[in-house]
Amino acid sequence: MNPTIRLAEIAHARSGDKGSHANIGVIAYTPAGFEFLGQYLTEMRMAQYLLPLKPRLVQRFAMPGILAYNFLVLDVLAGGASRSLRTDSQGKVLSTAVLEMPIPVPHNLDAMRPPVGSEQKKNAR
């Protein structure tokens, strides 16, 4: 089995609800990480990871200026904030779970980690 790391090593994320849909924004720490996400973190991979929650469709949108991909996950909240019986009816913890997704170790992992001591320089390109 190939060695894996958690997505959290190269990206951070936030999620929330839009009606009965959820969105999950995954933000790379570096341009190299953004390039890796573009190839690896496809709509299909996100859908597979969330399959137990029965999403109807996953759409991915690029936000290159902040090194991010936004995933719109349709009908994943079992009715949404108003009707869902789940504790997490608003999809708030989806991003926390997605950051635990195992990913193959990229060959240039060091170029994808948050810059040491200064996350704030992350978008200096």
Binding site: G19, N23, I27, Y49, P52, L53, P64, S82, V93
Partner: protein, 472 residues
């Protein structure tokens, strides 16, 4: 009229947010505008429910709770204005309540605006007769197929009514349903005299409004990079600094907790959006896809690259219908086989309900502590020594949910061993308002703006003499 920079702080991100934050924000740093955002997708249905029982209710009560303290800030900061959607289903009643509070503090000359016109319910039949179908934007289902009346239907208005109110001298602007970002766009358009077709600048104000609308979520709250080193007890609520040319800087007051960094702002930029090339508001069709962030100082992030085009031809409508009742309750199971005992306890509850002929239509069991918030996604933890059993249920009949909630406390004495955690008052059923997103042609909706001094609101100033806040 236009100044070089205006500073807009947001002191509330939702109804129920920290009551001390608005005053702390306004006192910590001189603002031109304090915005307070209270309305989530379903808040209006709850407010409609309250207004049906009391015609003087239907606005966000948190605002009335904090206004006495904000009044003292208004008294000593003559530049400060407040813009809030606390009006909910009843901006007029909220304006009168605000007038009462301000007058009691000697501020009876302050000009208060109510921005209404978003409530479509009173004329729904006329809109339908004119060809509006109110089809569900998500499912395509026609309203006529729903078979239930709408509990509320409100158009998302833009910033036009707010700008009109400010131009008429209002210092406190109270709206119903306006788009969250429009609480920032309205003041910017008024202050800078922007044209409503200046999409580049409107987009800049829209992205600023989007970033601050959820309060501390942009300044360190909810941040994935959280550690103990990020102080949040005194988290600073956000400020957007806007310039005439569309410049935007997000910051927070000095000597407060939290952080405003590129990563914290990036997370909020992407929060609850869909296609970033079409962030639709009543003010414009904004494009956030090429937005860039840069750290230009401590807790200062510049936001550039927002673009946009003409507003969509139709207003989005937030509607909801009554869909029965919901209830949820918890028990704690401890010791060996805690999860197994919890699931057995749930089965006991269901068996007793079936025997009584009172099984709710929908139920959902979670053993919290085993990965059940996202079952199948979180890795299973099979050997928890204690789990929280949470069961939620939904039914058309309130009595069925009441009966369901009564089945929890008997488990303490007639269930498996190791049951605890049932000491507080019994949870109550609450009504479900199911979301019905829809749209309506802009020309069918007329924003109404009522501006009066506090003393005139109290003297019963007519609420039938409105200016229109129409955005072209």
């Amino acid at each position: 009229m236009a100044r070089k920079t205006i500073r807009i702080g947001n002191g509330a991100g939702f109804w129920g947010d920290n009551l001390d934050a608005p005053v702390a924000l306004a006192e910590a740093s001189p603002l031109d505008y304090l915005t307070l955002e209270y309305l989530a997708e379903l808040t209006l249905s709850i407010l409609a429910h309250l207004k049906a029982r009391d015609p003087a209710a239907g606005y966000v009560s948190d605002f009335a709770l904090i206004l006495p303290r904000l009044a003292r800030v208004l008294a000593v900061q003559p530049q400060l204005k407040i813009v809030t959607n606390a009006g909910g289903m009843n901006p007029i009643a909220c304006a009168r309540a605000a007038a009462r509070i301000l007058a009691a503090q000697g501020l009876d000359g302050i000009s208060i605006a109510a921005v209404a016109g978003d409530d479509l319910a009173p004329h729904l039949a006329a809109h339908q007769a004119a060809g509006e179908m109110f089809a569900n934007l998500d499912t395509g289902q026609a309203l006529s197929d729903l078979g239930a009346p709408l509990a509320s239907a409100n158009a998302y208005l833009g910033g036009g009514g707010i700008a009109t109110a400010l131009a008429q001298g209002a210092r406190v602007v109270i709206t119903g349903r306006v788009a969250d970002a429009s609480l920032t766009v309205g003041p910017a358009v008024y202050e800078f005299g922007w044209n409503w077709t200046d999409h580049k600048r409107l987009a800049a104000a829209t992205v600023a409004g989007h970033l601050i609308e959820c309060g501390a979520q942009v300044s360190g709250g909810m941040f994935s990079g959280w550690t103990d080193a990020l102080p949040l007890a005194d988290v600073g609520y956000p400020i957007a600094e806007l310039t005439d040319d569309g410049g935007v800087v997000i910051t927070k007051p000095a000597r407060t907790g939290g952080a405003v960094t590129v990563p914290t702002v990036a997370e909020q930029l992407i929060y609850e959006i869909g296609d970033p090339t079409h962030y639709l508001t009543p003010d414009l069709d904004a494009d956030f896809s090429q937005v860039q962030l840069s750290q230009i100082g401590a807790d200062r992030v510049a936001v550039t690259g927002a673009a946009g085009g003409p507003a969509p031809p139709r207003y989005k409508v937030s509607a909801a219908w009554r869909d029965g009742f919901l209830g949820a309750a918890t028990l704690v199971l401890c010791g060996d086989h805690a999860e197994h005992k919890a699931r057995a306890a749930a089965d006991l509850i269901f068996a007793r309900l079936r025997r009584a002929g009172a099984m709710p239509r929908r139920t959902h069991v979670e053993c919290l502590g085993t990965g059940d918030t996202l079952p199948g996604v979180w890795p299973r933890t099979g050997d928890a020594r204690e789990v929280v059993l949470r069961i939620a249920a939904h039914d058309t009949a309130c009595e069925t949910i009441e009966r369901f909630l009564r089945e929890f406390s008997p488990l303490v004495g007639s269930g498996p061993p190791g049951v605890t955690g049932y000491t507080g008052p019994r949870p109550k059923p609450y009504p479900v308002f199911a979301y019905w997103p829809s749209s309506i042609a802009r020309e069918r909706v007329v924003p109404e703006v009522f501006v009066h001094a506090a003393r005139d609101w109290l003297a019963g100033a007519p609420a039938d003499h409105a200016s229109t806040g129409v955005t072209p």
